[in-house]
């Protein structure tokens, strides 16, 4: 899920870095003081979640919680995803440091899509939570596999994508559980 340095062309990586910094600036302007503790907690959760591994389809995959971040933080999930990825890169060597921008764009897009799904009215809450959690990581995986495919890297679009559906399903279930728990103990934290 985390793209390492040296896989995509340097030009693409640098453009993505610039774009993600621009997005950080735009989304950063939306931050209210009251949002900051929630953002810090979510960044810590995302940072640690990547240490929960699953051996799937001959490779190693881990939780991301990008969908949950999108549901709980909305637009503010992007800076949180960026921060978590930065520290995962620096401390766990998950993804390249220069590739933090492209990773943040992929996973941030997943988080924002989850926010979009969560905002849909008329659907049962558990379904919105599951779909948001599922797409949060699976959409990021689709973007990553597409980038690999366009760059001529890897063993094929579907080979790269294989296994992420399993992790996405696990994340969907986990998101339903967490949202259900939050609905009971602290419903005010949910946006709607």
């Amino acid at each position: 899920m985390h793209i390492a340095d040296g896989i995509l062309a340097v030009e693409i990586v640098l453009v993505a870095d610039a774009a993600s910094i621009g997005a950080l600036y735009l989304f950063g302007k939306k931050i209210d003081t009251d949002d900051i503790p929630k953002m810090g907690l979510m960044a810590a959760a995302l940072f640690v979640a990547s240490l929960v591994y699953f051996p799937v389809a001959g490779t190693s995959m881990h939780l991301g919680l990008y969908g949950l971040a999108g549901i709980l933080l909305g637009w503010l999930s992007f800076p949180v995803v960026f921060l978590a990825l930065l520290f995962q890169s620096l401390l766990f060597q998950h993804g390249g440091l220069l590739s933090t921008g492209i990773n943040a764009l992929n996973m941030g897009a997943g988080a924002l899509l989850a926010y979009g799904v969560w905002s849909l009215k008329g659907l049962p809450e558990w379904l919105r939570a599951f779909t948001g959690g599922f797409l949060g990581i699976f959409f990021a995986a689709i973007l990553m596999a597409g980038e690999f495919h366009l760059s001529g890297y890897g063993k094929g679009f579907f080979y790269v994508l294989a296994g992420y559906a399993v992790v996405a399903a696990i994340e969907g279930g986990l998101t339903v559980f967490i949202i259900g728990f939050l609905r009971k103990v602290k419903p005010a934290i949910l946006n709607n």
Binding site: M1, H2, I3, A4, D5, G6, I7, I31, T33, I36, P37, M39, G40, A43, A44, F47, V48, L51, Y53, P55, G58, T59, S60, L83, A84, F87, Q88, S89, L90, L91, F92, Q93, H94, G95, G96, L97, L98, M144, F148, Y153, G154, K155, Y159, V160
Partner: protein, 164 residues
């Protein structure tokens, strides 16, 4: 403020070269006349099927290229002393590069092993030099510290007349 910006840039650039390994770690054992390589994911699962490219220092053309077996093992036999660069890649975005130094004593070992060492014989070379729990603690401390700093900064700015 500029002072902190410079410090951050220096920190990032300074750590970029030593922290450019990702997701995979590489176990390497010299077992003359072979070098046994085993790329593993961060939590220890062998990266079976991962490709490995071996180059001698300064040479563009690979000395050997191939794929790990199902146990994640890859073996090559260097033909001269020097620095050998190994790049392992699982084709899913995980990549690791490491340099193995082969000295003359490697070639002076008289007896070749009768068989390629088994997975159990491969000695794990600990690439991470900081324990994981310490990295987790450090990361959480910095994240919460930044959260507190940012919260204080925003609170103070909000209190000022005309602050947003």
């Amino acid at each position: 403020m500029k002072k902190y910006a410079v410090l951050i840039v220096v920190f990032v650039l300074g750590t970029a070269s030593i922290l450019s390994a990702h997701g995979l770690v590489m176990d390497v054992r010299q077992e003359s006349p072979f070098v046994v390589v085993q790329p593993k994911y961060s939590e220890g699962q062998p990266a079976g099927g991962a490709s490995v490219v071996v180059r001698f220092e300064g040479e563009e053309t690979p000395y050997q290229a191939g794929a790990c077996d199902v146990r994640g093992l890859f073996v090559f036999s260097p033909d001269k002393p020097g620095e050998w660069t190994l790049v392992a890649d699982d084709g899913r975005g995980h990549r690791q590069q490491t340099v193995v130094t082969i000295d003359l004593s490697f070639f002076e070992t008289p007896a070749a092993p009768e068989s390629i060492p088994d997975e159990a014989d491969v000695i794990t070379r600990e690439i991470p030099f900081v324990p994981l729990w310490m990295k987790v603690g450090l990361g959480l401390a910095v994240i919460f510290g930044l959260t507190g700093l940012f919260y204080g900064f925003k609170s103070n700015r909000d209190k000022k007349p005309g602050g947003s």
